[in-house]
Amino acid sequence: MKTHRILYGVVLILGFVMGFKAFLNFYPEILFQGAKKKIGGLENVLRLGNLPDHTSKMVVKPNPDFMYVSCFYNLENGPLQLTANVSNANYWSVGFYEPNTINFYVKNDKQFNSNKLNFIITHKGYSLPKADDNIEVIKSKTKKGLILFRFLVNSNDDVKKIKRIQKNIQIKQFE
């Protein structure tokens, strides 16, 4: 009887520890999937955002000073190429996120040598032919993730300008 009680106690504690660890581990991924669903659920498609306001409910704590461009990527079919021509005096940056919401890459306007961005996003296990020098290769640990551009808006003129920039960002399968 005593052995049974010890066994039951161990099973309960084991379940508790596993539940605790699993919840913490998967919770960010659930939030990531929730955001993806709210944004439309499409992969490898750019979503051009307006200035956030109180109706913006896709991602918590949006910055009302930023216009965003987001893209949930999927590298199942091979690498992707992301290009853009970003001529803008205000702060802007591009960040890459894993599905567990970790921001594994970020670079801002001051850190680029040119207005013309040219990225190849590839899974870390994928062997890529040598890329041109003007192409930056992003090696993603996961096949899925998020690309997020942030553009600072200081005036109404900026809104028009950034909308033009948003429209020239492109993502396609790398060939």
Binding site: F20, P52, Y91, N154
Partner: protein, 192 residues
């Protein structure tokens, strides 16, 4: 057979309790956690290396999904006034602060649900460019958080409880990184 059933039920109960406790711990981070360092009313994470701590990763996912690395931005968050009371639109507040040595900084006000608060003015934030400074050197400013119109920098608080103010410092100077716990951050006083 009965023993196997008891083991299964206990294991399932353990998992459920573990999940419940994890969710509780996530919510507790803001109240009582070594993960958040305080500088006055402002809290910040000493590191945004989310890979190092599952609890921090989960908490940040809940309150600020898709936050950036601290190499790019420092986030300071205030959810109480100087007296330690939660921020509510039933009260008016005066934030008094100074310019920051950063590429861009801003204050944005959020409701309990971590979204922007509806208001007739459609004003949700102030930043280094649009805030009105008290002096020509652009060194200090006052910002009012209130549901009633205020002169000067007015951040409307609509109808919300348990609000929070997020201060974002993008590309701050090295001395800010080095002194996050001691740099002078704004005060937030209840004025009604």
């Amino acid at each position: 057979m009965k023993k196997t059933l008891i083991i299964f039920l206990l294991f399932t109960a353990g998992i459920l309790l573990g999940c419940f406790w994890a969710n509780f711990k996530i919510d507790q981070v803001k109240i009582d956690s070594d993960l958040i360092i305080r500088n006055g009313i402002w809290g910040y994470f000493p590191s945004m290396d989310l890979a190092a701590n599952d609890l921090q990763k989960a908490y940040i996912g809940k309150i600020g999904l898709f936050a950036l690395q601290d190499s790019e931005v420092i986030y300071f968050i205030a959810s109480t006034d100087e007296e330690g009371n939660p921020l509510s639109s039933l009260n008016d507040y005066k934030l008094t602060g100074a310019n920051f040595d950063a590429r861009y900084w801003s204050y944005a006000l959020y409701g309990e649900d971590h979204f922007l608060i509806p208001n007739d003015e459609n004003v949700f934030s102030f930043n280094m460019e649009n805030i009105v400074y008290r002096d020509s050197l652009k060194s200090t400013y006052e910002l009012y958080v209130s549901k009633n119109p205020q002169k000067g920098n007015w951040l409307p608080s609509g109808d919300a409880n348990n609000m929070s103010i997020l201060l974002r410092l993008y590309n701050p100077a090295t001395h800010i990184y080095m002194n996050k716990a001691s740099i002078k951050l704004p005060t937030l006083k209840k004025i009604n």
